[in-house]
Every structure is written in structure tokens, then in C-alpha cells.
Symmetry: C2
Subunit: 200 residues, 2 copies
């Protein structure tokens, strides 16, 4: 266990840099498996120095999952302001979600692992369900408009579509291989048009 | 913490039923976060009764992840014995993998959460990488045969394809909603042909 390296002349952490270390630790060991003691050791500062920034471990979790959820619901708001066909809004929602995932990878990873043992986790799960409901409605609308295949249940289609998006957290690492835009293109090509090349 | 219910007149557990309880507990609390003491309490039997069946916690993990991996490599062996086009073998591999996931859900879930902290975990990760390599080769072959889109890197396509399959562990629960075959159909329709309905 080594202390965090000195941060460019600053004597300690601000809330943002403290949050980043906490989220990394939660992702490695699980939220339940990480104590404020573990965090203080990792940061190389006392617990009371942490409490100067944030009142509890649960508040760190809340800040982290809200970062991810606010990003995703920001995309929802943009998409809901769009005119045009539902399938195009659905594609915008997928692209925007991939962008949020790439930009906020540790926060989205933590969000997707939340299990619902605390009030903060249950609130996060409720917002995730609301997001899923919005996706399913958009898939159903696109199906009603004749743009999405009707031989798969819209709830299953939306779960598979965002299962595909969310699976990126398992292997995508920023700075290695594809950029966020290339990744969003690949996801949309495969999800919307399939990997089969139709005979010309 | 309640003792396990009496099992149809049998006085205790055999290795199989013990393994099922262990895997459920590992999935709930994490492998690292589960002690033999926790398992003994959950089973309502002593630790020495557990050691009568299995020498260590790590051996329980090995049995569990090998169950999942043997299932997946069984599908690989079947697919490699098939003649015909690579894209059809790829589709068989996806269908077979969904079947294994549905039939062995707790074991596959555990396998997909393995992080590599122990010898058993590192061996499981090595077999997973071998599986991924086989998928990527099959995608590349199907691309060379002109059946799979060439505008996405085969390694990315194979990661997305199995990201989609593996995402089922997050929401699929046997006996609720779709059967395994319906699920495999939905996955193949979306992955191979896309959710967009092309204009006739």
C-alpha cells in the first residue's frame, strides 16, 4: 500500500481528485468491501481530512453514480428535444450513451455494478429503470413507425441494445485502440444494421 | 442467516448441491468476500463437513468456472466440426453460447466476474482469452469470405458480439419471460441482421 504521489505542488486533495481515487477503489474492491480506512490509506491522508470534503462513504457513492446518471439523462434530454423519426432518436441515444461511458468510464462502471443495498444504491437503480423505460418506449415507437424489426419484443431489444453498450466497460480502456467516436460507430453499425453483409 | 432447508430426506449435501450454494454466495458477495466460514453458516453444516467434499475454497471456484468453460469449449468443438461458411459457424457459436449461459447461469456469471487474483482465476482468464481468440478468427474468416462487414475491426466485432451475449447475465432469469431458444433467436437477429427494418 503506497501513499498517493504528490499532486503537482498541491498539499492535498480537492473533492474531485478524492472522488476519482474513491471510485477507482470501489471498482476494484466493491463498494461494500471498501472502508473509509482503506480510502484514507490509499490517499495517504487521515480520515478526518476526508471528512473535511465529504460527510460519508455513501455521499462519495452518491456523487459518483449521479455523475454517470446526470450524463446519461443529459443525453435523454437532448434526444427528447429532437424532431424526426424514433429510430434516429434511438441511434442518437446510443451514440450519446457511448460518449458518456467513454468520458466517465469509472463512474459508469460503478453505476452498472450497483446492487441496491443502500438508499443511494436504490435511488440509482430507480433512475436506471427510468432510463430503461425511456429506451423501451423509443424502441416501441420506432417499431410502430415501421423502422425497427417487430419480431423481437421491444423490452428485449432495448435490453440487448444497452447490454451491448454497457458491455464496453468490460474491455474498453481510453487511449488504447478505438476512440469514443469509432466505438460509437461500431456499436451502431452492428446494433442497427447487423454484422452480416447482405448480398448486393 | 438461516440454515439451508432439509433436502428431500437427505441428511446433508453432496458435492453438486454444495457447489451450487457456494457459487450463489460467490456471485452475491464476491469470491474474495466469501469465507469458508460464511459458506458453512449458509449451508448449516460445519467447515469440516465441507472439507469432506472439497479441499479448499479455491477448488470450489475451479469446479465452478470449469463447468462454464467446459460448456463453452464443448460448443467450440461442435462448431469446429461443422463444414460450411464461417458466418454460419459463428452463428452456431453464438447460439450454443447462449444455451450454455442459460443452462449454467450462475457458473457463467461467476466466470465473467473472475478478476485474476489467484492461480485458478488466472487459468480461467487464459481460457477466456483462448475463446475470444477463436471468435475473432471466425469473424475474420467470415469477413474474408465476404459475409461479415469489413468496416469494423474483427477484434472489435467479436468483443461486441460476445459483449451482447454476456450482457444476458445482467438481466436474464430462467423461468421468467423468454426461453433460451427465444433469447438465442433475439440475440442472433439483432447481432447478425440488426434491429433496423430495411425498406422492402
Amino acid at each position: 500500500m503506497t501513499a498517493a504521489p504528490a499532486r503537482r505542488g498541491r498539499p492535498g486533495y480537492d473533492l474531485e481528485s478524492l472522488l476519482l481515487v474513491a471510485v477507482k477503489l470501489f471498482n476494484e474492491r466493491g463498494y461494500d468491501g471498501t472502508s473509509m480506512e482503506d480510502l484514507s490509506r490509499k490517499l495517504g491522508i487521515t480520515k478526518s481530512a476526508i471528512y473535511h470534503h465529504v460527510p460519508s462513504k455513501q455521499e462519495l457513492l452518491r456523487l459518483a453514480v449521479d455523475r454517470a446518471l446526470d450524463g446519461l439523462f443529459g443525453v435523454v434530454a437532448e434526444v427528447e428535444a429532437q424532431d424526426g423519426r424514433a429510430i434516429d432518436r434511438l441511434e442518437s441515444l446510443v451514440r450519446g450513451s457511448v460518449s458518456v461511458l467513454v468520458a466517465q468510464l469509472p463512474f459508469v462502471t460503478l453505476l452498472l455494478r450497483v446492487r441496491g443495498n443502500t438508499k443511494v444504491e436504490r435511488a440509482a437503480l430507480a433512475r436506471r429503470r427510468e432510463f430503461d423505460r425511456i429506451v423501451t418506449e423509443l424502441v416501441a415507437k420506432a417499431e410502430a413507425e415501421g423502422d425497427v424489426r417487430a419480431d423481437v419484443d421491444p423490452a428485449v431489444t432495448s435490453r440487448l441494445l444497452f447490454g451491448l453498450v454497457n458491455s464496453l466497460i468490460e474491455w474498453y480502456r481510453p487511449g488504447r485502440g478505438s476512440t469514443g467516436t469509432e466505438l460509437a460507430d461500431a456499436v451502431c453499425k452492428i446494433a442497427f444494421d447487423g454484422l452480416r453483409l447482405s448480398p448486393q
